[in-house]
Amino acid sequence: MAEASVITDEMRAAIGQESEPLTIEVDKTTIRMFARAVGYTDLIYYDEEYAKSKGYRSLPAPMGFLGNPGNPIFRPDRPPRPAYIMPFESPYKRILNGGTDVEYYEPICAGNILTSTSKIAEITERSGSIGPMLLITGETTYKNQEGRVVARFRGTLVQY
């Protein structure tokens, strides 16, 4: 027998609501720190002249750089996670990262000033080995200075 849904009208109403835009400055130091953390040895992520010799405007952002914006967008006057993730009370208190999906539509390089907006794309519920859970998928779209969409991030949070 199916259990009663924990998805409330308030949660449904939150789906698709666009966040306020955030500005993300893609800079060389953050790219170098990110690339080092992942263990990259390719000098395109560390040496600007070398990156230019390979056809990039400056150091390119490695895959995953966008979508892990905790560092670039951190401000002490904002919550550590963007408010769009849970603008409602959840019956579950524990959180796991369920999945990540990042698409780059063109190279993103240091010097890019990106504007991102986020929304909840989907809320579903499921029962698994850890019990009943809510799966909340957020989607963030990144535009460059010219207004072109250059990347899209989708992340799924599991609450259980």
């Binding site: 953390a37 390719d42 490695p62 905790g70 560092n71 999945g99 999906d101 990042v102």
Partner: protein
Amino acid sequence: MSDQVYFEDVQEGQEIPPLTEKCTSQRLVMWAAGSGDFYQIHYDKDFAQNTGLPDRITHGALKHALLGRLLHEWVGDQGRVKRVACQYRGMDMVNEDVICHGRITKKSQQGGENIVELEIWTETPQGQKTTPGTGVVSLPSRGQ
């Protein structure tokens, strides 16, 4: 970087060279700083055990980034990693190898680009697939 791989030289079903990264506590601390994810289950053993985990666990997003590095190192200077998607189905514990794999599922030409789609995943040293996903890259052509 390894030798350049070309679109004509790869086939559906082919596996790409795996990438192994030992996710030591130092690596997890570097990732915390590099990504901005400071959740303590990834570097504070007492905190992790108080939440019921046996020990610290590797960040899911680090595994996503390692799958991105797997593809980047395979496509070479002239290739591009366009999409990496994965699901975190199982935990990887601190100080264990995360072994990244990829297998080509489709080749196509779209908008003048040579597109290769792959099934990608991470395995534990015991062979458990903890992070299945898909990747999309573009490769240069020998004819260009």
